[in-house]
Every structure is written in C-alpha cells, then in structure tokens.
Amino acid sequence: MDIGSIISIIVTSLMAMVPIVLTSVGAVWSERAGVVSIGYEGVLLMSAFFGAIVAELTGSGVMGLLGGIATGIVFGMLHGVLTVYLKGNHVIPGIGINLLALGVVPFGILAYWGTAGQHQVTVTLWSWQTKYGKISPMIPVTIAIAIITWWVLFKTPLGLRVRAVGENPEAADALGINVEKYRFWSTVYGHALAGLGGAYMSVAWLGVVQKAMSAGRGFIALANMVFSGWNPLVALIGGWLFGFFDALATWLAPLHIVPGQFILMLPYIMTLIIVAGIIGKARPPKWDGRPYKRE
C-alpha cells in the first residue's frame, strides 16, 4: 500500500465520517437530555431525499443541507411530542419513522423524479476535487459541530441543564428548569443534526438518492454513541473509525483477498465487540429513555 492510497483512504474515511458523526453527536445530545430515538436511520434516508429535492428546487447545495435539517427538525418534533409531552415509549416511534422512510423514499423517487430506485442529484454542494478524492467543506463543519457541542454540553449553563434533565429530571424540575422544554428541543437538535447528515449524503457526498442509501448508518451512529460514553468528542473519533472501516472495506473489495461481504461485515462485528467490551464502563444518563411525569 503506497502513501497515495493511504491518503485516499483517509480522505474517503473523512467523507464517510460526516453522517455518522453528525448523527452520533445529535444522539448524544438527545440522550444526555434523556430522550432515546432509533429513528435516525429513517431520518437520514428521508433528509437525503428531501435535501436533494430542496437543492434541485433552489439550485443551491447549501439550501439542500438546510432542507435536510428541516426534515430532521420535523421528525425530531414528532418524536419529541410523542415521547416528551405525551410520555410515550421512546423506541416505537423510531420503528414507525424507519418504516415510513422505507416507503416515502422509494415512493418519492418514483413519484417525484419518475425513476425507480435511484436518482442522480443535479445540484450538489461545492467540494474540493483532489487526486485523492473529493473533500467536502462539511468535514471541518462536522468537526466544529462536534467540538462546539461538547463544549456547550460540558462547559455552559445550557449543557449543565441538559445533563441535569437527563440524569435527574426531578431535581431540575424542582429548581425551576422546564424539563419538557429542554428535552423537547434536545430531541429536535439531535434529529436536526441527523437531518444535516442525511442531506450531506445525497447533496454533498454520494450525489445520488437511493432507496437504501442510509445503509444502517443511523444504527451505526447509535452504536458509536454508546461507544463514546455519550461524549461528543469521543463520538467524533469513533465516527471517524467507523468511516475508516467503511473506506477500507471499499478499498479492499476489488482485490478479492476475502469475499467482499466479509469486509463489509467488519465494521458491524467491530461495533459489536467494542460495545460488548465497553458497556461496563460507559454509563448512560440515569433517566435515559424514561418519560418524566410530575404527578
């Protein structure tokens, strides 16, 4: 393996990192506030779809990303209403959102663009074309989002309150912190980041909308969140590692050393091993996934 391949694997892995890190960081924030969601997979898929539509309608890649964020916000609000205000189960809405995405996206591709299964996005975000592959400005943006989210979560009053709400909502409530408000907007923020990640996939990275393009990244992001110990900085590094495996698998696949399926399996096996090994140390927020009711 020459130096050029190494650089190109790193470039590819940084590109692959973006949706995983954004979703993980969003999920970390949401779970720190005590709201679990497994609907990120569906949000990634749907925001890839709607992000592409917005990009094509406005002729702007940036607007496409905003469209993805808006999609994330809509589903974050839906999830937030169901779990935070109506005190419902935290897992079931995600199952519904994922199922919905599997319908909306292929249906939408066919109904909107008239093509089956796949659409080439005509308006994409500017990126830097190098001989090692393209580099998107979303890479530094993602790193900045992870760092800023970490800083806000651990250094500011806002972060203190979010963590309090996820650890002991009763304590926060007794001090006049509006638990529902903090939980709701944390959920929205989490899903908005996933929405940004989804739009990035179609508008900036892959340049297509496909009916299975999220390819489990929403779930990998959850594994990465656990791996990170609910810490955005560690999630940044973990997300890059997952991206690295992805890139490595793609790079090794044509060499036929081992069947391609085994390489593609690798990140999932690694996740499982990491999650199994680390869970003893990583402690989820105490009220994670539990609705809070005053009476």
Partner: protein
C-alpha cells in the same frame, strides 16, 4: 374449558383493539393525502388494493401467503416484548432460517428436516444478542441491529457464493421437490400459513397458560418482583430470544420451502429481506398479543397482496403501503390514543 375461553376474551383488551383500528384508519387517511399530493386517485388506488387482496380465491390465498412470514416475525417481537425485551433481531434469524432450508434440504430432501434446521439456525442466531444482554448488559436494540447486518452479509455471501445456482447464479439452488411444503387446494398457498397459525396459538398458550410463560410475563413487567417470585429474569430473557429465533427461523425456512414457483432465495435476497422489520409493525398493531397478531398479519398481508392490482389499475407505486404502515405504527406510538380520539369526538 369455560375459564380458558373467558381468559381469552379478557386478554383481548378492547381498548387496545380500538386503538389499532383507529391507527389503521389514520394510516389510510394520511396515505390518501399523500396519494392526492402526487396526483393519484386514492379511491381508485384503495379499491384496487382491496380488490387485489380479497377479490378472488387466488387473491385471498395470496393475502394469507403474504401474512405467513410476518406473522412469525411478529411473534418473535411480541414474545420478547412480553418479556421486557425490544428484540428487533427477527430479520437476521429469518435470513438464517431461509438459507438453512436451502442448504439442508439439498443434503436430505425431507420437509421436516428442512424446517427443523431452519428453526435451529434461527434460534442459534438469536443467542449472541441474548448473552450480550444478560452477561454484558448490551442493549438488545443495538446488538440485534448489528447482528442483522452481519447476518445479511454472511447469508448474502452464501447466496452468491457456495449455494449459488449454477444455471442462474443470482439465485440459490432450489428446494428439492420432495421437501417442498404441500399447497392447499388449487392455490399457491402452502401449509406454512396453517403452521404459522398453530405457532401463534401455541405462543398464546405458552404466555398465558404455562408456569414458564407466567414467569416470562412477570419478568417483562417487573424483573425485581419476578426475581422475588422465584423467577430468574435472565433465564426468561434468554428463552424469549431463543423462542423468538425459532419463530423467525421457521418463518424464513417456510418462506423458501413454501413459495411457488421460486423455491429458492432470489436475486439480492429480495424475497427474504424486510420481513423482520414488517413483523415489528404487525406485532405493534396486534398489541403484542399472539391472537391479535394473527389478524394484524392478515391485514398487512392484504396490503401487500393488493399492491399488484393497485400498480396495474391505479399505477401507484407499491411503496405507498410502507408509508401507510409507517403512519400506522407512529400513530400506535401515541399514548392514550383511544382517550385522545374519544375527547376529539366529544368536543366535535
């Protein structure tokens, strides 16, 4: 017998039943809005959908055939849910059940052997998540998601590699004729449907009429109290995974052994993909009750069977039913749906 019939009725919570019906109605209403938005006529689409699902003996057979695999994967989810576990690993066990049927009926062309091996592999594949949950505290949602993907790539490799059909390399070798499930009457419906119904009834009996099932439900509702009551919740959890794996493995095996004319895993594993996730929807609409699941599965089967005619007569993409199903599940996730709707009607 008198008491068991009254139990059966008591276990059917009418409020839950109504909530499922409300969710279904809302699913269809929103589905209609989506259809309208994209310029389709919902009335035409829906009447084609139901015509395609119930219009003839063959369409009814098709409905029931579609309901069979999701009935079994729904049981996987429901049995675990009753034990307090969010097992979304039906998908992976389903792949393994399917490939087991292909592999082992080609070693010994016997139907029962094929089913048994499907069950065995399905159950085995459920074990990693069970042990990770009990001994390492890994949340089952995370582990089963990973295991589903691992199963997908592994079985995919078997499908395109060692067990590819030499004459048609995108499919696997076929189930030998003598190991295929008998068909009912002159239809394409196999006895798989009857076996699935039997499994649902057995699941009901297990959960509500055995000491073991009592322990499982106790663990699901309150593990501390269950432990106090002499039940080992960890054992209950492991068994709920295993029984779940049995159901999905059987479902996968029967999907391949009882589905004319293919009798093989098809290109891109298209005829085994997605049944585990659909089963979760079925379980939720059936309120995690094995008897509710029978009806919910037939309902989902109707939707799926009807899409063929809907595509022809109304030119509507078949994925609209996933949209409807997704809305139904999200609606079911609304707590106190029944009271909510009741209040709306009172005001209105």
């Amino acid at each position: 017998m008198k008491s068991s019939i009254s139990d059966l009725i008591a276990a059917f919570n009418f409020k839950a039943l109504l909530e499922s019906l409300i969710a279904i109605v809302i699913g269809f209403l929103i589905g209609a809005l989506v259809l309208l938005a994209f310029g389709y006529d919902p009335a035409v689409a829906y009447s084609a959908l139901f015509g395609g699902a119930l219009g003839s003996t063959n369409s009814i057979a098709s409905t029931l055939a579609y309901s069979t695999p999701i009935m079994l994967t729904a049981l996987t989810f429901a049995i675990s849910a009753r034990t307090g576990i969010f097992n979304i690993g039906a998908e992976g066990s389903f792949y393994f059940g399917a490939i087991a049927a292909v592999i082992f009926t080609n070693i010994w062309a016997n139907m029962w052997f094929g089913l048994a091996m499907g069950i065995l592999l399905g159950a085995l594949w459920s074990l990693p998540a069970a042990f990770l949950k009990v001994y390492r505290g890994v949340h089952e949602v995370i582990s089963t998601i990973m295991l589903n993907w691992i199963a997908w790539f592994f079985v995919f490799w078997l499908v395109v590699g060692p067990y590819a059909n030499p004459n048609d390399p995108n499919k696997t070798i076929r189930i030998p004729e003598s190991a295929r499930l008998p068909l009912i009457g002159n239809t394409n419906l196999s006895i798989a449907f009857i076996i699935a119904i039997i499994m649902a009834v057995l699941s009901y009996y297990l959960l509500w009429h055995t000491v073991f099932g009592f322990g499982m439900r106790a663990s699901g509702l309150n593990p501390r109290a269950a432990r106090y009551g002499g039940v080992d919740p960890n054992k209950a959890i492991i068994w709920s995974f295993i029984i779940g794996g049995v159901m999905s493995g059987l479902g996968g095996a029967m999907k391949i052994m009882g589905e004319p004319p293919t009798y093989a895993i098809s290109q891109g594993m298209a005829n085994v993909y997605g049944f585990g996730f659909d089963g979760i929807g079925v379980a939720l609409v059936g309120r995690n009750h094995p008897l509710g699941i029978i009806f919910a599965a037939i309902f989902f089967g109707m939707l799926r069977a009807g899409t063929a005619l809907m595509q022809i007569e109304a030119q509507v993409p078949l994925e609209i039913i996933k949209v409807i199903q997704g809305i139904i599940v999200i609606t079911i996730a609304v707590p106190g749906l029944y009271d909510l709707v009741k209040n709306v009607f009172k005001k209105g």
